[in-house]
Subunit: 218 residues, 2 copies
DNA sequence: TTTAAAATTTAGGTAAATCTAAAAATTAAA
DNA sequence: TTTAATTTTTAGATTTACCTAAATTTTAAA
């Protein structure tokens, strides 16, 4: 049996793996989970014993095959529950993360499948993030990060690659939501921030924000 | 903050309180939760410190005002989730208990309220058990236990007062479900078992079963 | 009403998941 | 390439929720 804490570690390692080719460092996991490096080392040993990760001391970890499967299953549940909360219970997109963090740990294969069916096999969650299917496959994405767009080009927001409440609320304040049209007016080399237009209103956003906005170009 | 284990203790004490006027004994709780009496004593001390129960050593416990509120809230969540599973996700009534045991611990007042609204403020769960409202009030019940019916009288099954899987599956095998008509043909003094008819087919059931069947007489 | 049985509590211990502080290994800088 | 800084691990504690075994209290029986 896999514990709640173990599930959270697997999920964190998967998330960190998406942004790097290399093994995931102890400190990176500690930062992600807001815990201490020594706690991470402890837990990594447990995950190694259960063959959920491959670990070389001082060199970091990678998810094993079975660890990856488990992690993807948790992401699947998280995102399906988010869809449920927004489409059925009328939650806002910036309210669902905390609740889905709890719901993602409910154990019942039958429940996940029934939920998926009930929701109509959605491919994206309310933040535009892809929902892996029953076999762990992610739907193909045609989006780019806003930070990767050329000066002058434009597109529509189809997702965000982070769903913490403060980020989403900041987007709300910028009047950015799914479907919003954005054009890159100027790229500032100094700090990689961007001058953009949001539905033709101009604004200035940091690289940090631009990196987490997924854009589909026409 | 109240932990998962603490919530399970509160729920167990509430359940046991329904069947007795007296304080709840350590052993009764241990039996209910399939744990040891010494573990129960430990936990009772924690609950006492948090003022969730009133406790007199060697004399048992009772839920305090706030402990009762918490326990009722858990029951409310359990039963609302059961309604969700059966009415929206097409689960059978004997499949939902285990999953609802997990879902009842999800923490979000807003979620419970939204779920209640979404389900149309149901008053009973799929086993006919009453669902307390937002204020902790249980709907009035007009049902009796089958074991309390006189010889010759009859009525319809409107609920069960236990929802473990083996009991519900036994009912399925007897062709008893919500709405089934039952008549008491004979009461056997020796073991308090009953000769009954189920939709006019005769059967013999133990007192244990009869006590857990809720009947509404015409 | 004394004694035996049953129930309950206490004492001491374990595993999971955390922590701090110190030691060891790796990386970067002079 | 030696040293300093950073990262990671180890050692030793803590808290929660359990456990077993022994001691204590209550209840029931003789």
């Amino acid at each position: 049996m896999i514990t709640l804490a173990e599930e959270n570690y697997l999920k964190a390692i998967l998330k960190l793996s998406k942004n790097s080719e290399n093994s995931i460092s102890t400190n990176a996991i500690a930062d992600e989970l807001e815990t201490k490096a020594s706690s991470v080392t402890d837990m990594i040993k447990k995950l190694t014993d259960k063959q959920l990760v491959d670990y070389v001391p001082y060199r970091g970890v990678n998810l094993s095959k079975s660890g990856l499967n488990k992690a993807i299953e948790i992401v699947r549940k998280h995102r399906l529950w988010e869809v449920f909360l927004v489409t059925k219970l009328q939650f806002k997109w910036d309210e669902v993360h905390y609740i889905a963090e709890q719901l993602e740990h409910i154990k019942s294969q039958k429940l996940v499948d029934a939920l998926d069916t009930y929701l109509g096999y959605p491919q994206h969650d309310p933040h535009g993030e892809p929902i892996p299917n029953k076999d762990g496959q992610f739907p193909k994405s045609f989006s780019k990060r806003l930070s990767e767009l050329e000066k002058g080009s434009s597109g529509q927001v189809v997702g965000v690659s982070q769903d913490n409440q403060s980020f989403l609320q900041y987007l709300n304040s910028l009047k950015i939501t799914l479907g919003t049209s954005i054009r890159v007016i100027q790229k500032i080399d100094f700090d990689n921030s961007l001058e953009i237009t949001i539905n033709n209103e101009s604004a200035h956003i940091s690289n940090d924000v631009a990196r987490n906005l997924l854009i589909k170009q026409k």
